[in-house]
Every structure is written in structure tokens, then in C-alpha cells.
């Protein structure tokens, strides 16, 4: 009887919900691996451009500057 038990408890000490720490960490590891694969792809251009475009809210598109309040510093693009 003892050998059966020790065989089972090799990877055990069940935690919450009857899950062993080993299985819990395996799930956690796979979950993060899956998630991080996408995170590592960074920011697709599509979104970088979207956010950049919305930089100036309600910006008048391509009408050209009329005021020109600052003489030299117009490099705001």
C-alpha cells in the first residue's frame, strides 16, 4: 500500500481544487507562453498610426497653417 501512495505523491501534494502544484505551474507556464507570443509581436503599424493620427484631436485635416504663431518651430508632425 505504501508504494502505491508514494508513487502517487511523487508529483502531488494537491492544492486548491485538487490540483497539484506541478499541474498548476504547468498551466500557468503554458498560459503565459501563449500570451507572451502575442505580446512579443509588439505594436502593429496599424495601431501606431491610428494613435498618431489622433494626436491632434479634431485637427483640421490638411488645411495648412494660417496663424504661424511661432516662426521657426513648425516641426510638429
Amino acid at each position: 500500500m505504501k508504494d502505491l501512495k508514494s508513487q502517487a505523491s511523487r508529483s502531488t501534494t494537491p492544492g486548491k481544487g485538487g490540483l497539484t502544484p506541478e499541474i498548476q505551474s504547468r498551466i500557468g507556464h503554458q498560459l503565459r507562453a501563449m500570451y507572451d507570443d502575442v505580446v512579443r509581436q509588439g505594436v502593429p503599424d496599424r495601431f501606431a498610426e491610428l494613435i498618431k493620427k489622433l494626436d491632434a484631436p479634431g485637427a483640421t485635416p490638411q488645411l495648412g497653417e494660417e496663424g504661424g504663431s511661432n516662426d521657426n518651430t513648425n516641426g510638429r508632425d
Binding site: 498548476q24 498551466i27 509588439g42 496599424r46 495601431f47
Partner: protein
């Protein structure tokens, strides 16, 4: 608060994890990116309601989750048809074994009830606290905890009981998971 440069950068910095969350929720890369785009537009349109100094990722995740929920009801079938799209989003192809295991995991994840899946992802992958996850999902902290636990148990049952050949002797696993060691 107004859309400052630093806020814009912070939003941009959240995009990778927003995408990961969206893909894990929807299982479909195209739908996920549409969700992220809608999330960004909505966030920028409502930027005035963002409290400076509060948790920006949590705010963005909340928007994305709510969009997904309303979208999901409409598109359930489409999403289910799209199985397999997820793998195509990966730039790095894992080794064959790892790939197989990965596919199994993804499939199992999609079998979880939505409530449990999102709770598990927010806590287990996005790294949110139980408190933040509860606020994102609009429920109690205890509810999140129990959803996460149920999600883990179900994943374990799906992955490591049914497909236990590569993991160890069936009976051992069954005994372990069933907690029948007395």
C-alpha cells in the same frame, strides 16, 4: 484628462497586451485586432473620463472586455468557425512537439466558459491582481478567485486526464486530480 504625449505613449505600450488578451478571448486574430482598434478609438474618444494616475491598462482592458462581450453575443458562430486562426498569428513557429502541446492548450482554453477563461487570462497571463481583475470584470474578488480555480481545474481535466499519454500513467494522474488519495 487631455491626451498628452505621455498618455499616448502609455496607451501605445498597452497595445501588445491588449492584443494578447483579445486573441485569448476571441481565439481569432482578425477579430482580436478589430477589437483592439475599437478599444483604442473608444478610449481616445473618452479619454476625458480617464482618471490621471489610475490604472491605465485596467481601464483599457475593461473597455476591450465590454466590447468583446457585446460583440461576442452577435458573433458567437463566426468565432467558433475561426478555429485555427490563432496559430497563424504566431511569428515564431514552435517545435513540432511544443506546437502540438500548444494547440491542445489553446483548444482546451476555448472550451472554458467565457467567465472562467477571461478570469484565468487576466490573473494568470496578463498579471493583474485579483482586485484589478474583479474591477475589469465588474464582479467581486471572491468571484474572480473561484472562476480562476474552476478554470484551472477544468483545464487540468481537459489536458492532463484525457490526453495524459504524454504526461504519465493514466491512473496516477486520475488519482491525483480526483484527489482520491486517502
Amino acid at each position: 484628462m487631455p491626451l498628452t504625449d505621455s498618455l499616448r505613449n502609455d496607451i501605445l505600450a498597452s497595445v501588445p497586451s491588449l492584443r494578447a488578451f483579445a486573441i485569448s478571448l476571441s481565439g481569432n486574430a482578425d477579430r482580436a485586432d478589430d477589437l483592439v482598434q475599437e478599444t483604442l478609438l473608444r478610449a481616445l474618444a473618452n479619454i476625458d473620463s480617464f482618471q490621471p494616475g489610475s490604472n491605465l491598462p485596467a481601464w483599457l482592458f475593461t473597455i476591450l472586455r465590454n466590447l468583446f462581450r457585446s460583440d461576442y453575443r452577435k458573433r458567437r458562430r463566426e468565432v467558433e468557425d475561426a478555429e485555427g486562426n490563432y496559430a497563424k498569428t504566431l511569428k515564431t513557429q514552435p517545435s513540432q512537439n511544443a506546437h502540438l502541446e500548444f494547440e491542445e492548450f489553446r483548444t482546451a482554453l476555448e472550451k472554458l466558459p467565457q467567465d472562467q477563461r477571461e478570469a484565468l487570462i487576466l490573473v494568470g497571463a496578463s498579471g493583474f491582481s485579483y482586485e484589478d481583475a474583479a474591477s475589469i470584470c465588474g464582479c467581486a474578488v471572491g468571484t474572480i478567485k473561484s472562476r480562476v480555480n474552476r478554470a484551472r481545474s477544468k483545464l487540468a481535466a481537459l489536458l492532463y486526464v484525457d490526453g495524459a499519454e504524454d504526461f504519465g500513467p493514466d491512473e496516477t494522474i486520475r488519482a491525483v486530480i480526483g484527489g482520491s488519495g486517502g
